[in-house]
């Protein structure tokens, strides 16, 4: 096994072989379920008002990975999603663009063509999303195809079966290989925390993905319940903060699935602010994987500026 970047010796040692990796991951401090859930609930009571709220809404919009991952997706749907990404609220040109559009690999070209020159990224899921149940060759081909089609970000899934049966080396190798196949594209590693179940597993999978070179760690595919939760995101934010303290490198976090309201999004931003730190309040380091969230952000943004609520008929459905 090879560490993808130059790491401090303690971390480089962790990736030397399978048993070192296991020792390292099992040596991480445990996560107390009651404690982390209490902390998440406590921070969830922060009251974000007025200018702070407007700032949070604009920041959240700029962090959205506008997503469509349906079997029923069409090129037309992806094109209208790209249009929405460019101008989320057509009547309000000052609304920031979203961070990325996230689609299946066969839709990447359509999205990329429509987003040329906008600065909006095209993210593609890959590696036999969402289950990750295929051979490595196919996962690599899936990744290469997405990048060739124009994806600047790849959202891979880890092999949860391998992780849960303790084959950490295999999961590590897969991430390293996919990262190589990505080339310049950013790699988000989906842990599918709903299948990992325990917070201890989430912490271990987070460190595994960071050690293997993932640029982002992402909670969920959105296809498994529960998807993103606040306490899980707390654990992952703590992991990237600890990673920064040990390596100096900044890595990102992306909760995905189930975040639908502005109120929820603000709770996540408060967690980013107070658990990881203010420097993670940046679309390069924090994203929301969401489809319906954007419209609620737009409605709340109008409410903040107009002083009254207008309703869903005043924002575009796609």
């Amino acid at each position: 096994m090879a560490a993808p970047t130059t790491l401090p010796s303690a971390l480089a040692d962790a990736t030397r072989d399978e048993s070192s990796l296991r020792r390292f991951l099992h040596g991480l401090p445990g996560v107390d379920q009651v404690g982390v859930e209490q902390r998440a609930a406590g921070l969830g009571t922060r009251s974000i008002k007025k200018a702070a709220k407007l700032h949070a809404i604009d920041l959240a919009i700029s962090m959205v990975d506008l997503t469509t991952l349906e079997g029923a997706d069409t090129h037309g749907k992806v094109r209208s999603l790209a249009a929405k990404a460019r101008r989320p609220d057509p009547e309000r040109p000052d609304v920031p663009q979203v961070a990325a559009v996230c689609v299946y690999p066969d839709m990447v070209k359509t999205a990329a063509d429509d987003l040329v020159g906008t600065g909006i990224n095209v993210a593609s899921v890959a590696t036999a999303f969402p289950s990750g149940r295929s051979t490595m060759d196919i996962k690599l081909a899936d990744t290469r195809f997405a990048v060739e089609q124009g994806a600047s970000e790849v959202d891979m899934v880890i092999d949860r079966g391998a992780f849960l049966s303790g084959r950490y080396g295999q999961v590590f190798e897969e991430i390293v290989e996919i990262k190589q196949a990505c080339g310049d594209a950013h790699l988000k590693v989906i842990l599918e925390t709903g299948e990992l179940v325990t917070y201890d597993n989430v912490r271990r999978a987070s460190w595994l993905a960071l050690l293997a070179g993932g640029d982002f760690i992402k909670t969920s595919t959105g296809k498994v319940q529960p998807a993103a939760t606040l306490p899980v995101t707390h654990v992952m934010l703590q992991a990237v903060k600890d990673w920064k303290n040990q390596t100096g490198e900044l890595r990102g976090v992306k909760p995905a699935g189930g975040i639908r309201t502005t109120k929820d999004a603000i709770k996540y931003l408060v967690a980013v602010h107070e658990v990881a730190g203010p420097e993670w309040l940046d679309p390069n380091l924090f994203r929301f994987g969401a489809s319906t969230l954007l419209n609620d952000l737009l409605m709340q943004r109008r409410t903040q500026l107009d002083g009254h609520y207008s309703g869903p008929d005043y924002v575009t459905v796609d």
Binding site: P29, G30, V31, G35, T45, R46
Partner: protein
């Protein structure tokens, strides 16, 4: 940078009145003592004038309680008493916001704590004890345990409403009547509780609330017709009361100071341990008798833990208690602030390393930035004396035996915290802790079903749970 905009709770909700009267025999009456002015410790402004009891008022109140005991309350079936107590609990919930805002104004604690802890827990104490009122025969004290009579209760300023609930609820459930003296710096929520009690149509004299300073408390506990004394407050006053009551027939429970050890082993869930340490010492500005004011951390993880702790404490927001985003509010009084300053100065003078959060503090009011002392030894005053403020002393240990020895090396013994993922070690440690409450992998959790109380100079008697009923029954 993302600055949270101020999010203050409206102080109008407190329905603050210019003057408050004492509550005796079912009526609000002027006391004949010198009125006191209660201030908002966050601004130093006067909130209201409160009438206080004189010695003769104490006598009147005790007589009213005696009459209510003899004629009504001791004869009433438990199931009927329960109805009144349930009613009080529901009214506390109804008026929860009013009580929370008033508590934060008068005490200085952050609104999120008065709203999410003090008021709901106060209501839950009444709910819990209401349930006991008709089941006392099944509490393990014989088939028909009798009440004691008139209870004289004196409570502190750190949890004004909650302590009133802790005292009044079990007393009423067991069939006693009450004369309660709230602390002189925080009398307001107890008087709103009196209003609630009046509106619940409790028979006159069953609960009497008489504000005043220490002399009123002394007159109350010394009154010859009081059968039971319950005191929560400082160890010094507790000793005086115990002396005063020696040789009398009065039953006494004391809940006094503490210097709790929060013990973190190297296999602890570190991030949650940090949360528990912060909650242990900075909750309610550290004005908590069971605060985890001594952190005992295993030497092998001390540096890592301290680094995480400093980072976490730096995020605490100190300021306006009414702001919903405030984590640490105002110190309750100038006197207390001076005491905290004096003890922290001694920590520096005795050679401990001081770290203080660089958080901004308001210009006026009584505030103290969260402070952590490392390199503390057992001999220092900051390791031995109760600071009762947002100041943590950090000591290290190498073996479980050393942790036990250091944790128990205090005249106090109210609470302790144990942080380890190893269940057997939790049990091993808990057996050896000389503390009334031992938390494992959490801290400062309160529930009416769990008995609370201390060892040694932290007092005796238990409050809450089945065990807590004993203090108000003739058994």
């Amino acid at each position: 940078m993302w600055e949270y905009a101020p999010a203050p709770e409206s102080r109008d909700i407190a329905d603050l009145k210019p003057a408050y009267k004492m509550f005796v025999d079912g009526k609000f009456v002027e006391g004949t003592g010198e009125p006191l002015k209660t201030i908002n410790p966050a601004t130093e402004e006067v909130l209201a004038e409160v009438s206080t009891a004189s010695e003769s008022d104490v006598d009147t109140a005790v007589k009213a309680a005696r009459k209510a005991y003899d004629r009504v309350w001791s004869k009433m079936p438990g199931s009927e008493r329960a109805k009144y107590i349930y009613r009080i609990a529901r009214q506390i919930q109804e008026r929860g916001r009013e009580l929370a805002v008033l508590e934060s104004l008068d005490n200085g604690k952050p609104i999120k704590e008065s709203r999410d802890t003090d008021v709901p827990t106060a209501a839950s104490h009444f709910f819990y004890h209401a349930g006991w009122a008709d089941k006392l025969g099944y509490a393990g004290y014989g088939p028909d345990p009798k009440p004691l009579g008139v209870a004289g209760q004196v409570i502190p300023w750190n949890f004004p409403l909650l302590m009133a609930a802790w005292k009044i609820a079990p007393a009423l459930a067991c069939g006693n009547t009450v004369v309660l003296k709230p602390a002189e710096t925080t009398p307001l929520t107890a008087l709103v509780l009196a209003d609630i009690i009046q509106q619940c149509d409790l028979p006159p004299g069953v609960v009497n609330i008489i504000p005043g300073a220490g002399d009123v408390g002394a007159a109350l506990v010394g009154h010859e017709d009081v059968n039971k004394v319950a005191f929560t407050g400082s160890t010094d006053v507790g000793k005086v009361i115990q002396g005063q009551l020696a040789g009398t027939n009065k039953k006494l429970t004391l809940e006094l100071g503490g210097k709790a050890a929060n013990i973190v082993f190297d296999d602890a869930p570190l991030d949650q341990a940090v949360e528990g340490i912060v909650n242990g010492i900075f909750f309610n500005q550290g004005h908590v008798c069971c605060a985890g004011s001594r952190l005992l951390v295993q030497e092998s993880i001390a540096d890592e833990l301290l680094e995480k702790l400093h980072a976490r404490v730096s995020t605490l927001r100190v300021g306006d208690p009414l702001d919903k985003n405030t984590d640490v509010g105002a110190i309750n009084s100038r006197e207390q602030l001076t005491k905290i300053q004096e003890l922290t100065a001694s920590g520096e003078a005795e050679g401990a390393t001081r770290w203080t959060s660089s958080c901004p503090l308001p210009d006026k009011g009584f505030f103290f930035a969260p402070t952590v002392f490392s390199g503390v030894s057992q001999a220092m005053r900051i390791a031995r004396e109760e600071i009762f403020g947002p100041v943590l002393s950090v000591l290290t240990f190498r073996t479980p035996e050393e942790a036990v020895a250091k944790a128990n090396n205090t005249p106090y013994g109210l609470s302790a915290g144990i942080w380890t993922e190893k269940g057997s070690r939790i049990l091993w440690m808990a057996q050896r802790m000389r503390a009334g409450v031992v938390w494992s992998n959490t801290f400062n959790r309160f529930d009416p079903t769990a008995p609370f109380g201390g060892y040694q100079e932290s007092g005796f008697g238990r409050e809450g749970g089945r065990t807590g009923l004993e203090a108000y029954l003739d058994v």
